[in-house]
């Protein structure tokens, strides 16, 4: 029986294509995993191995972005709320 006429094979083939598609679509996750492994390796290596990265080509998850999570935004204040800040950020002169 030809594979193209075998329903089971065709179903398996579709399933395989679906898996491949999923894998392609989840490429970002794979890249993130690889980047995560690189991050782990970098963070465990001596600081002497550091090399300057080009921040203009850096993307989230790359080696240039490896050393800190982002800040967490708070929910927006209700419209019309007057906020008295807890503190003020200004040039430190450091």
């Amino acid at each position: 029986m030809s594979p193209t006429t075998d329903r089971h094979t065709l179903r398996r083939s579709r399933a395989l294509r679906s898996k491949i598609t999923t894998a392609i679509l989840s490429g970002g996750a794979v890249l993130a995993l690889v980047a995560g492994m690189a991050t782990h390796a970098t963070d465990n290596s001596s600081a002497r191995t550091a090399t300057p990265a080009d921040p203009d080509s850096a993307a989230p998850g790359t080696s240039a972005d490896r050393w800190a999570p982002a800040a967490v935004p708070a929910p927006s204040a209700p419209r019309g709320t007057v906020t008295v800040p807890h503190a003020t950020s200004r040039g430190s002169g450091g």
Binding site: S46, A47, R48, A50, T51, P52, A53, D54, P55, D56, A58, A59, P60, A64, D65, R66, W67, A68, P69, A70, A71, V72, P73, A74, P75, S76, A77, T83, V84, P85, H86, A87, T88, S89, R90, G91, S92, G93, G94
Partner: protein, 318 residues
């Protein structure tokens, strides 16, 4: 944050000690430091300031007993330092790497040559360096092995603003480890927040308007993270080569000549936020605003024409 230097407290939630908020502001690190802790032991703010004093003793470039001073005078020899200093040196190297050198921790010889050798708060304290000190230093050749750090001969380090941001990171970690429910640490205008805010669901941080003293450009809201601002309008002096400020452009070795007046970054921690601000004081001022979202940060840059330049993700925090 009240600007006075007296400790006070108020109760925000319920009758348990968990609801008590304590604020304090004291001189430290060449300026003032404010701590606000939510909950925790009654002496936690004092403990935080004691911790900060330890850090300053280790990192000040104006103290000849500090780890940084000893490193700068080691002439290529390894120096045993405190664990805090290992973390500092590691972060300085990382900051240099992630900014592609826009943050350069080795510009101290240039800063001194430009006229910034004495402490702003105690002019009797002056930074001196060996004759071998040169710029640029060899950041990639710095060795860290356990508690021993070795700078290549000629390379010197200046914690600068990154030291303040990192110290704020360490104070928030310290406060949470010692029982605080929430904490805000502000060192010389660089802030880190973590945990439960004193009221509402957000820590709120005003961004100072450098053109109109006493007013704010905006207020950002966050539940965790850091806000750091660098300005070329502070630490300004007239040296032998004319007017100068403390932000040295690593491309030229002199005070940055740029349209950027202030750069503010919101990031995951103080060390990173402070380091990224330096991207705005290079020959390409829009670099920070353009790249911040790709570096897990948001940025606001004010230029000499009084324009505000926001990264595309800045509004997430407003």
């Amino acid at each position: 944050m009240p600007p006075d230097s007296k400790t006070f407290e108020h109760r925000d939630r319920g009758s348990s000690t968990a609801g008590i908020v304590r604020h304090d502001r004291r001189p430290a690190m060449g300026g003032t430091t404010a701590i606000a802790v939510v909950g925790g032991p009654s002496d936690l703010a004092d403990l935080c300031f004691a911790r900060l004093a330890e850090i300053e003793q280790a990192w000040s470039r104006f103290l000849d007993t500090s780890d940084v001073w000893r490193l700068n005078w080691a002439q290529g020899r390894p120096v045993r330092v405190r664990p805090d200093t290992v973390r500092l040196v590691t972060e300085l190297i990382r900051a240099w790497a992630v900014t592609g050198g826009a943050f350069d921790p080795t510009t101290l010889p240039q800063l001194i040559a430009a006229g910034y050798a004495a402490s702003c708060t105690d002019p009797t304290r002056r930074t001196t360096l060996p004759d071998t000190a040169t710029w640029p230093g060899a950041v990639s050749e710095i060795d860290i092995a356990g508690l021993e750090v070795r700078l290549p001969r000629g390379t010197t380090l200046d914690p600068g603003g990154l030291g303040k941001g990192l110290a704020a990171d360490m104070l928030t970690e310290f406060a949470l480890d010692h029982g605080a429910e929430g904490v805000l640490a502000e060192i010389g205008g660089d802030l880190v927040v973590a945990g439960t805010p004193p009221d509402g669901d957000a820590w709120t941080v005003g961004i100072d308007d450098p053109f109109t003293p006493g007013t704010l450009v905006t207020v950002v809201r966050l539940t965790a993270g850091a806000v750091a601002t660098s300005s070329r309008l502070v630490r300004v002096w007239t040296g032998s080569k004319g007017r100068a400020h403390h932000l040295i452009d690593p491309a030229t070795g002199i005070s940055a000549r740029t349209s950027t007046v202030t750069a503010t970054v919101v990031a995951g921690n103080g060390a990173r936020a402070e380091a990224l601000t330096k991207l705005a004081f290079t020959g390409e001022p829009d670099r920070l605003v353009r790249r911040a979202p790709h570096l897990s940060a948001a940025a606001l840059v004010l230029t000499a024409d009084r324009q505000q330049h926001r990264s595309v993700n800045w509004n997430e925090f407003e």
